[in-house]
């Protein structure tokens, strides 16, 4: 008796399956096909630069580039005595002929990361990966404090690392939150046959690491 009951049940299931075709049906007014949607989510990171917006100071433009670098920034004409205005801000040397003049600007750097399960150790670093050539009478500097506070003077800046990256993000890097930082070029009062003059270029590499 149990076998008979099971056989009838199976037959009914088969009939139902045949009758309710998913894309077509007859003698009815409705049909309901299905679409399977598949996606593979990957974690992602993004780090972008933008022109600073700090009030009360001038800003050197951060320009997206199609060249070998992602962005460019031009400090204009600079000198070790702070005679030229440059394109943004400057700190004249404390002791002309002895200390450096610093031409500087603010900028924004925005880390974005998604689908990461661990983010507490996230860092943003900066490193001079292509330095001005020797004798380095011009060098890249950054705000020593790694903060959004406007530097008070030339002493607020320190040379950006060339052999290792400097952590510029601070303790808590949040996804999607722009960081305001300061960068510049320091011009030393060096003299001699090999000092650099004219247009000079260095490259800074910023790195976001989510961990």
């Amino acid at each position: 008796m149990k076998r008979i009951t099971l056989a009838v049940f199976a037959s009914l299931l088969t009939t139902a399956s045949t009758t309710f075709a998913a894309t077509q049906a007859a003698n009815t007014n409705t049909v309901a096909p299905t679409l399977n949607v598949t996606a593979t989510i990957q974690k992602a990171v993004s780090l972008t630069l933008a022109t600073g917006t700090t009030g009360g100071i001038s800003h050197c433009a951060v320009v997206a580039s199609a060249g070998p670098s992602d962005y460019t920034m031009n400090f204009g004409t600079v000198d070790a005595l702070g005679i030229n205005a440059g394109n943004c801000n400057k700190f004249n040397p404390v002791t002309p002929g002895t200390t450096n003049a610093v031409y500087w600007t603010d900028y924004q750097i925005t880390p974005v990361f998604t689908s990461h399960t661990a983010t507490s150790g996230t860092t943003v670093t900066a490193q001079v990966t292509t330095d001005f050539v020797a004798p380095h009478n011009i060098l890249i500097v950054r705000d020593t404090a790694n903060s959004s506070t406007v530097p008070a003077g030339a002493a607020s800046f320190s040379a950006m690392g060339t052999g290792a990256a400097d952590n510029i993000g601070g303790a808590a890097v949040a996804s999607g939150t722009a960081l305001t930082r300061f960068i510049g070029v320091a011009v030393t009062p060096a003299n001699g046959a090999t000092v650099l003059q004219g247009a000079q270029t260095a490259t800074v590499t910023f790195t976001l690491t989510v961990q």
Binding site: A21, A22, T23, Q24, A25, A26, N27, T28, N29, T30, V31, A32, P33, T34, L35, N36, V37, T38, A39, T40, I41, Q42, K43, A44, V45, S46, V112, F113, T114, S115, H116, T117, A118, T119, S175, G176, V210
Partner: protein, 384 residues
Amino acid sequence: MPAIFHDPENATHAAADETGRMRRGFSRCWAVVILSLSLTSAMWAAPKLKLATSGTGFAIAGAAPAYTASFGTMNALAFGTPATNVTATALSNGALYFTTLNVSVQSIGGGNTGVVKAYVSTNFVGNAASAMIVYGCASPSACTSAGQFSALGTSSAGETTLASGLVSGSSSADVGLAIFLPDNNGATAFTGLSALGCTVTFDLFLNGGGASSDTVTLALLNETVQSAVQLTVGSAVGGLTIGDSGGPLVDPFSMNFGNVNALGIGPAAGLTTVAQAGGIIYSSPYNLLPVFSDMSQTSATVKACVSATFTHSTVLTLEDSATGSIGSFSNISTNCGVATSLTSSAGDRSTVARYLGLFISNVNGATAFTGLDTATLTYTLTVP
């Protein structure tokens, strides 16, 4: 043997052996007369036209001059199993149910050539006439595809030749007969049984002209038309490829967004990214094609719901848009009882173009997810 059987001269002087010869001659004469009468009768018999079931055709019942047959239950999508030895094929504007039957001629006479023509002498009644149209296919065509059939005329003046060149030595041919069911919605829609069906008259013409030498009829009885609905999901130009499960009418359909991320970096071919707060939307155009027939209404609704959500439904959601533009996407309902309406004015065989959006949350931390996930959308076409 006398030249004349009742010769009076020979009759009075007949010898015994002569009498015997005369008796044998008498018998031969009757045989000649009987044979002559028999031949005369055959030569002057009226040509006869007959219909019969072909080797692969539907069953023909009855006898000359009145036959019957039936195509059974049909629909304009060719959905389902047709009657025995009837083939159903879906067309771009309906469906054709076709079969073959055998026509033969007898007593056509030496030197004559038979031509068989047919027309619909009594058409379906009422709306059934717009739901079912009788087609024919002429021999020697194989009559195995829709393109070999054409509509039969509905008057004797518009008869269609189905067989020709029939002679006494080759007196039969298989011809095709079909019923075309066009998409037929609105006021002229018809469903149900046409018990009386229609009648096709077959005329035999000798040597292709003159009056019909013989006429038989084939009544197509008990023809049933059912309404039918169909909804398919297909790729749109510039969008992701939509797969199927073994044919364009076999679901589930499939759409693979491939590798995606919440920043919209590097969308695959066929995808565009659309900004959305909290993440990003990967968007692809696609098409829905509703088909319906023999419905009293000419427009339908198409709804969608997420019948099986992503496993990580807080990270991945499916959205719908008519334009694919920023701000135009909205979540597709995850409650199929209150499915998201995509259109309430879908026309028969009129493509509904939509955009399917895959929203990816940019969440990090414990609820973040990477890897493969799948959801299922159910689209419902309803013709009110």
